[in-house]
């Protein structure tokens, strides 16, 4: 039966978080699970992909329907804790659909947030883990690496990952539109609550050099400042430190504005007009909206930031259409390669190729040795045939062994070593 590719699993599209949690495979069990999967009857190679948004078994098989059922049963048994009925959540893709699915996953087209960059790394890790326990062979090797290169093409040729799509990353994106680099810039966090802390961490992670934290309850400011390696200042005195701040985050629970145009103008004068980016994360708002009217001050509140993020998301959706075209083209190229990984056609191709060489060379020699009699010719003919057959004997025997683990590897190697008109150049 022909080698086929197969994906069985569930994702955020078919299963809610609690179902996904129940199926999730803990990291320390991963190696055992990968081994167990490729020991399943009808499964030749297998990689388990387990992220918080998906649990999928990527495999090759010669027994389509049977393998699907066995992998599904395996996942059902592997559940930890309270077992859920997985049947309505599981999907399976075979052949062209499976190839397309893996390429789309790698390119982050199937992600919850389309274009998010983590999935490619997770995919690479999953593959490496499975390969380290010998659960992968020539087909999965080729398939995954093709998926990685498709993802790279999508990333460089479309704008799918180009723009920030969350509020805090939109804030960072805007900050880098105002300031060229965040390195060496200082941020001030007014209000040491959870939301402000998140935003501050995000800025620090993106290069912001210094952080000043202030809070009505000073102890809280001191505590957070210690965690973030920042400088705490008392709430009453924060306007004095304003000139140092390139980015000011408002995240207090105050019901009225804590920062108006007066102190900001003061700060601008001291800063010699260097711009200030004000990010107001609070509802009701912490910063007087009139700040935006000041020269060199840019004020964004939560609504503004979400609008930026949403606009970017729309752009990603448009770019995703371009990405789908890239995926489609690459699917066809991979399928052509897979279609050639068959024992009989490979043996025939190899025999034909060698026979053609033999005949060509024999003819050349006979042309030079015009006065040979029929007997001598026959001997030459027999000798060349014997040489060819002896050389081909061992490789052909190996190819005919039908060892499911090594077969595709040898097929692929044979096609490459003898250059058997592989239509896929890569």
């Amino acid at each position: 039966m022909q080698q086929d590719v197969l994906i069985v699993g569930l994702s955020h599209r078919t299963a809610s978080l609690d179902v996904r949690e129940a199926v999730a495979i803990a990291d320390e069990r991963l190696d055992d699970v990968n081994r167990a999967l490729c020991d399943l009857e009808g499964v030749d190679e297998a990689v388990l992909l387990c992220t918080c948004n998906r649990v999928e078994v990527v495999s090759t098989t010669r027994d389509g329907g049977g393998a699907v059922a066995r992998i599904a049963a395996f996942l059902r048994q592997a559940q930890t804790g309270r077992a859920a009925d997985l049947t309505p959540h599981l999907y399976n893709y075979q052949g062209r659909d499976a190839v397309r699915h893996l390429f789309r996953v790698a390119s982050s087209l199937d992600s919850m947030v389309v274009g998010e960059p983590q999935i490619l790394g997770q995919l690479k890790q999953s593959y490496a883990r499975a390969a380290s326990v010998g659960a992968t062979g020539a087909v999965l090797h080729r398939w995954f690496h093709k998926a990685f290169s498709v993802a790279k093409r999508v990333r460089t040729e479309t704008g799918i990952a180009g723009r920030a799509v969350s509020v805090s990353s939109a804030a960072v994106e805007l900050a880098t539109t105002i300031f060229d680099r965040l390195e060496g810039k200082t941020a001030m966090l007014i209000g040491a609550g959870k939301m402000g802390e998140l935003a501050a961490r995000h800025l620090l992670a993106n290069g912001v050099g210094g952080l000043i934290v202030t809070n009505r309850t000073f102890e809280r400011a001191v505590e957070l400042a210690r965690q973030l390696n920042a400088t705490p200042v008392p709430f009453e005195q924060f306007p004095r430190y304003l000139p140092m701040a390139d980015i000011v985050i408002g995240a207090t629970a105050a019901s009225e504005a804590v920062l108006g145009p007066g102190p900001v103008q003061e700060a601008l004068r001291e800063r010699k007009g260097r711009p200030i980016f004000c990010i107001d994360l609070s509802v009701p708002r912490n910063f007087d909206p009139r700040l935006n009217e000041l020269d060199n001050v840019y004020l964004y509140d939560v609504d503004d930031l979400s609008q930026v993020a949403e606009g970017n998301l729309g752009e990603r959706v448009r770019e995703a259409e371009k990405a789908e075209d890239i995926v489609t083209a690459e699917v066809e190229s991979f399928l052509r390669w897979l279609g050639h990984l068959e024992v009989v056609p490979t043996i025939i191709a190899l025999r034909d190729k060698v026979e053609a060489i033999r005949l060509g060379e024999l003819q050349k020699s006979l042309n030079q040795l015009k006065d040979l009699g029929p007997r001598e010719r026959q001997v030459l003919e027999a000798m060349t045939t014997a040489i060819v057959n002896k050389i081909l004997h061992a490789p052909l025997a190996r190819l005919k062994q039908h060892d499911r683990r090594t077969e595709t590897f040898y097929l692929d190697a044979t096609r490459r070593l003898f250059d058997l008109e592989d239509p896929d150049e890569s």
């Binding site: 105002i178 800063r271 711009p275 060199n296 606009g311």
Partner: protein, 271 residues
């Protein structure tokens, strides 16, 4: 049509190609148009270089008095400066402004084309190139500063209005402001040299350093404005105001250039 005019005509077309390619590049994610734009711009620059050399070779330094050659010299300098700048730090959006500007300048130089002037006796002095070279280099740097300022104003407006335009890849405000400052500072230094050598030229040619020519007045006004701009930056006038002033200064320069050539009797006037 003489061969240098053919070259000018071809580079005119190349500027258009570059401008269109830059705009396509800015509104899409593809890298191809950027390469096309840079190749077109470089080719246009090479052609104009040859054309200018041919003009100097056949007509001598008298071409410095013809408006036609002044305009194409300016276009050539601006494009050359941009190409040098972008080799260090790619700035496609600047190219999108520089290319049409070069197109307009070259086109205008076509429209005002006249034969070569013969250089009056009094101007056959080394002060003429010593004046024209720094003054025009200064003009070109100020032109770049004006383009940078225009981009700054667009980017600033988008940020204030909280709208993202269709243009991608606009540089950050900080970078544009910094670039504007550097251009204005360099332009100012060159322009200062140009004004000093200009008055020395005036002395050599007509016997007086200062003649209250409208051209001289406008040039000094522009010089004062740029001096003010550099001074005000120390006091916090950066960003939008600096960008606006840079544009006003460049407008004054253009006026002085046009006044020099169209509004005044020939021979006498030189900025």
């Amino acid at each position: 049509m003489s061969i240098d005019l053919v070259f000018f005509a071809v580079s005119l077309g190349l500027y258009l190609v570059a401008a269109a390619a830059f705009v396509v590049h800015l509104t899409s994610t593809r890298a191809q148009p950027h390469r096309v734009a840079l190749v077109a711009l470089s080719a246009a620059f090479a052609l104009e270089t040859i054309a200018l050399l041919l003009r100097v070779g056949t007509r001598g330094l008298g071409i410095m008095l013809s408006f036609h050659d002044q305009l194409s010299l300016l276009a050539w300098l601006i494009v050359g400066l941009y190409l040098a700048l972008q080799a260090r730090a790619p700035l496609a959006v600047l190219g999108a402004l520089v290319s049409p500007l070069a197109f307009l300048l070259t086109l205008s130089s076509y429209i005002v084309f006249s034969g070569a002037e013969t250089l009056p006796e009094g101007l056959r002095t080394a002060w003429l190139p010593a004046h024209v070279a720094p003054a025009f280099l200064g003009y070109a740097v100020f032109a770049l500063a004006a383009c940078v300022s225009l981009v700054y104003l667009v980017q600033e407006r988008q940020l204030k209005a909280k709208r993202r335009g269709r243009l991608r890849r606009l540089p950050s405000l900080e970078r544009l402001d910094e670039l504007n400052y550097r251009c204005v500072a360099w332009g100012f230094a060159l322009f200062t040299v140009g004004i000093v050598t200009g008055s020395l030229l005036s002395k050599a040619a007509w016997g007086s350093f200062w003649a209250w020519e409208p051209v001289q007045v406008v040039a000094v006004l522009a010089w004062l404005l740029y001096a003010l701009l550099l001074q005000a930056r120390m006091l916090g006038w950066r960003g939008r105001r600096a960008a606006t002033l840079t544009l006003v200064g460049f407008a004054l320069l253009l006026i002085s250039l046009v006044a020099l050539n169209l509004g005044l009797p020939h021979g006498r006037a030189l900025g």
